[in-house]
Every structure is written in C-alpha cells, then in structure tokens.
Amino acid sequence: MFPALGAACLGAAFLTAAYAGGAALAGTRDDRRFTDSARRAMYALAALLTVCVVCLEISFLNDDFSVELVADHSSTTTPTGYKLTAMWSSQAGSLLLWAWVLSLAGSGVLLATRNRLRELVPWATAVLAGLAVFFTGLMLFGILSPGADSFPFARLDPAPVEGVGLTPLLRHPAMAIHPPMLYSGYVLFAIPFAFAIAALVTRRIDAAWIRSTRRFALVAWLFLGTGILLGSFWSYNELGWGGYWGWDAVENASLMPWLVGTAFLHSVMVQEKRGMLRTWNVSLIVATFALCLLGTFLVRSGILESIHAFGVSKVGGPLLGLIAVVVVGSAALIVSRLDALRGERRIESLASREAVFLINNLLLVALAAVIFWGTFFPLISEALTGSERSVGPPFFNSVTTPLALVLVLFTGIGPLLAWRRVSAGRAWRLFWPPAAVALAAAAVLALVSDALSEPLALVLFTFAAFALAALAGELLRAASAQRALAGSGYAAAVGRVFARNRRRYGGYTVHAGLAILFIAVAASSSFQTSSDVRLRPGETASVGDFDVTYAEPSASIDTAEQRLTFGATLDVSRDGEEFAVLRPSRNFYSSATSEGVRGFFEGEATSEVGRRGGPGGDLWTAMRPDLAPLDDQIRGADERIARLVDRVAPAGAAPMEVARFRANLEGAAVQGLRERYLAEPPPVDFRVNYNPLVIWLWVGGAIAIGGGLVAIWPAPAARRRRVADVHAAKLARELGRA
C-alpha cells in the first residue's frame, strides 16, 4: 500500500510542479491570483513529496523488499537508524531527497515573500517550479527507463526474502548525516539563484533580491560546509587511508560551490552597502548553483571515478542538459542586462573593506577554478589527446596552497578595514598590533619547533596568527566601546557586541574558525609522521617518536551484521613510557554478490581505526591483515560446503531450507577462521600516522558553523523596533533641521 501511495503522490507532485510553473508564468502578467495559486501549489508539492518520503521510509522500516530500493539498500539485520538513512545511499532516494528539500525551501521562501517583491516572486516561483518539474520528472523517467534507477518506488516481483543490506562503508553516524547536509546545501542555493534570475528578467537589479534570500544562501553555505566537514571526519575515521581529504572528484565537487558561495556571501554585502558588483553577484550565484548541479551530476553520472559516486547511470545525461540550460540561459540573460547591471559607485580606495572583499572573491574563485581544472583534467586530456590522465593530490596541493595562504591573510585584513576608505595613519594603527603578534608567533615557532623546515606552513601559521590577533583585537575594541557605554564587565560587553551586530561578529567568528581550520590542515599535512609497518604479534616498530608493539590479535563475529572482524591490540610508548593502547580492526562482510566464505573477503571491507587524540596531535592506526595464510582454509571450507549441500540437500528441497543449511555451514566455517586467526595470527600491515593538531580541523569547523548560526539568527523584533525608533527619531530631527 505505501509504495503504491508513494508512487501516486510522486506522479501528483510532478503535475503539481508543472501547474505551479504555469501559474507562476501567468502571474508574471501582474495577475496576483495566479501568483498566489502558484505559491499554494508549491506548498502542495511540499506536502506530496513529504508523503513520498514518509512512504519510502515506512517501506524501509517494514523491510518491504518488494520495493527494489529497499531490497538493494537494506536488510532485516540493518539497524533501524540506518534503515531510516538508507534512502539517500541510493540514486533514486537521493533524487527524492533533492526534490523534497527543494519543495520545502521553495515553500519557505515563498511564504516569507508572499507580500513582498511582487514583480520578482512569480519569476522566482517559475524557476523553482521548473527545477521541481525536472527532478520529479527525472524520478518518473525511471519507470520508462528501468536502467535509470531513478524511480524510488520500483517494485520487484517476486520480492526477495532478504535485502542486500546497506553498504558497509556507509554504516557510520557521519555518513547518515553527511548526504542530506550536502544535498540541502546544493538545493538551498537554488533559492538565491531563482531570485537572481527573477531580478534579471524584471530588471529589478537592486539589492532587494539579495536581502530576501541572504539567509537562504547562508543556510545553504552552512549545510554544505557541515556536509564537507562530516565527510572529512568520516574519511579520517572509516576509510583507513589515513587522511581526511583526498582531492577525490566528488569531494572537489562539493568544495567548489562552497568556495564560490563563500565569495557570493561576501560580495553581496558590497552590493547591499555600496550598490557595486551587481554583474559579479548574479554571475557568482549562477556559478554557485551550476556547480551544485555539477556536484549532483558527478555523483550520479559515473563520469569520473570516485569512491563516493553511485556508479554509471542514465540520469547523468539529463542532469548535464539541465546544467547547460542553467549556464547558457543565465549567461545570455546577464549579457542582455549589462546596461541595468552597471553599478552606482566605484571603489574609492584599495584600503577599504569592499576592495578587500573583491580580492578575497578573486582568490576564492581562482581556488574553485584550479580545483575545477584538476577535477576535470581526465576528461579534458581524453578529449585533447585521446588518453585519460588524471592529476593527483600533488597537483592540487601545489596550486591551492599559495592561494589558500593569501586567503588566510585576508580573513584578518578584511575585518580591520572600514567601508569606503581608511587613511594610511589609521590603517597603520589598526594593522601593527596583529602584525606584531604574527611576527612574534613566527619567531617563536622558528625557534622552538621545526617549522622552518616547512616554509609554506610557517607562512600559513604567521598569516593565521595575524588573522586571529586581528579578530581578537576587533572584538576587544568593540567590547571596550560597549563597556564605556554601558559600564559593565567584559563578558557582558562581548555578549552585547554579538547581540547588537550578529551579522558582523558572527562573520568574524566564522573567519576565526577557518583560520584555526587552516592551521590544523597545514600542521597535519606538513608535519605528519607516517609509516607502514608489517608486524607479527610481539614485534615492535619505531614510528617517529613512538615505539609500536603488536601485543595480540583479536577476532570476533557479529551475526546480526554478518561481519567478521580481525583486530589487533597495539601497545604504544613514547620515550620509554606507556603512551596509549590502540585497537584498530578490519571488518569483512558477507557478500551479496559472491557466495561462500570467500565472499567475506571479496566484498567491501571497512576499517575501524585506533586513535589516541588530543589537542597536540592524533596518533592514528589502521590495519590490513595478510589473509594469504588463511587462503587454504577458506578454499577448503567452500569446497566442503558445496559437497555437503549437494549431498544433503535432495533435489526438490525448498530453496529457503537449502539456503539456511548453507548459511549454517558457512557460519561454522567463519567461526573456524576466527579461531585459526587467534591461534596462528598472520602478519599484519599497519599504517601508523601521527597528525599534529588535526583535531583542530573539526574544532575550527565547528566554530565556523557556530559563527554562521550567529550571523543567521535574526535580532529580536523588539530590539529591531527600538533601534529603528531611535534612528527614526534622530533622522526626524535631521529632517526638521534640513
């Protein structure tokens, strides 16, 4: 019943989105009935897609394997929490998530603007409805083209008795939240994009569209940033290669819109305050949204290799078509409106906040551009030379590091300057204290650490110290001014500074968080100690300052998860003193595609890393046991099981009984492997890393997210009124004098 209801609602959602688009276009002829009708159709679309999501989730919870999506991505043994999040591990489920979030965000922005921007809203509604038509249509396209894997309610007949289960790699809390965060970020950038298109069409290119969609852009940026951070945390803890960022195509695809979106969030302030950069702003939001679509495309098309991609699929073509329409259509619209986009003012001085914002914008866009080039290099090289070549982390590190260095410096410079201009004398007074702190930090680091051996890292630490000192000084000056006014203590003054100007100080908090994050990236990548060692129980290896002893093996079986785990206990000492006991392990899962005991070792395996973390650094280990000594036993077990099944199971026996009999035999064989592993432990390859300051990457990220939330949070209505009244009274006095 639920799958049928979901399918019906999806069909109705497609028709409703089409109606919303048509009514919105009719509303552009200044007929408010149609505009209101289109808005309500968007609400109806959100309700219908919510029913679709609920129906799919109920199918997961009910283990309804007649739904292909459930059979392919869940099983009776999948924990309930992961059943609920399994939806977005699939192609069709993530498309449904895209459309659902779009309908909710679209409803939200149309509710917020129902009595405003009457010229813009019908066009923006038409754009949002057009996107909803595309994504609901793409899902329904799966009915006509089964290979597309895009219809979430596709059925299997007969239904299998058991599902394949969730991909082991995705059984991690960060992975449960990471995809919806990324998709929400991608989708929410559709809101400012839609209003930018509306502003271009109607030639209403003042800052009204920016004011109405600023919060949506900030929320999108926050979701995308949080998704990227969670993805890096998952990579660090689950993938077993020892890093948090591998410059993978899909990782890059999420970083590019975040970078361009960051540029957009800065440059719209220049338009709001100074009426400048109008062409740049509409271009940035078009680029951001096109890159969001590109991120969606990369995950689904299978065009570039990535551990995050869903594999080759038919939905890549239509998505590429949508990207082409967005880019070409928007570019044509911008070119046709260049006369109206001309700014009211010019930058008065290079020593001004708007000038620094422009430089910061160029740096961010340059970063996105070089990452784009590196990501698509395999396709570019194939098109030009006929052979596919890819660039790896060394290319990305070499081209992004110089840009990132200057960017960090500018996170400190921007907040120090005022809008319009700052005189040279005042600039000197503002700049010398953080510059002195930065130089002192560089001198100390050069003297007490080996930072001089990595000059680029030392430069980054210096620039980050400048940024942090500048931001701290900025807050201190504001708190002092507030204290002088209200006569309270510093803590209360800081609280009031944030409460009075959430946008500015929320933004500064984001800058501080990112400066900390960059320090962590530089320290953990430049000063990492990494070693691959092969050990047998009792053997010791030296890795940097540490002595790592493989104390004993461990092995366990989880029948519910169909998982065999081989682990190790490592005793780690530093300078002869006990430092940590680490327990890395490697998980092997029963395979859905390969039968027998061998299937455990031919399917996907995951790593549980052993870590001892702290503010100074993180000792990280992962292991890969050498399974060759177990090979004979695995082969022998499978041969015996096959013989026994043939002998015991007579012709005509129920397939279920045969399967159960086989499963019991395989269980016993796996138990035998576990005992053999403990009795005669094979050698194990360990990767042992010491990553200095790495934890600060996520601490800095969390600070940045907190700052973003402060910037989004609206000032209390009562205080806004009071401030407005004060200014109105002042202005009235001025008016009286004028």
């Binding site: 007929d31 009935r33 009708s37 100007n501 200014h727």
Partner: protein
C-alpha cells in the same frame, strides 16, 4: 490553489508590497548607519570621513522614510 481556475476575484489584503520592500531597505540603511558608527568608535574612520559617510547615509535613510510616508498615506487614502 484553484482560485484562478474557478474564476475567483483577486484577493485584496490591503497590503502594499512596496511598503514591505521599503521597510527592508530602511532596516538595511539603519544597519549601515550603525556599522559606520561602530567603525568610527573603533578608530577605523576619521571624524571627517565618518561625518561625510554618516551624512550621506542619513540623507538616503531620510529619502526612504519619506517614501514610506508616501506609501502609507496612499494606503490610508485607499
């Protein structure tokens, strides 16, 4: 949602869409004035620069307030 299909007359809630936009512009202008005050208090702007910027911003704010007055008068007349 089906109002235009049923031929229902347009809804008139008495709201002037211009008023909402003007209020938003006013809020943004006040924020700019406060930002300039803060920059001046923190020593980023000289007295002369601040006075010039403040006067310009206030003049723009007064224009917006006058537009709001006009829109409100037009609404009360209708």
């Amino acid at each position: 949602m089906t109002a235009p299909l049923r031929g229902a007359p347009p809804r008139d809630d008495g709201e002037d869409p211009r008023l909402g936009e003007l209020e938003a512009r006013k809020e943004a202008k006040y924020r700019e004035i406060r930002d300039a005050e803060l920059d001046h208090a923190q020593g980023k702007l000289s007295d002369a620069d601040w006075r010039a910027a403040d006067a310009e911003l206030r003049a723009e704010a007064i224009e917006i307030l006058a537009e709001i007055d006009g829109a409100e008068r037009a609404r009360s007349r209708s």
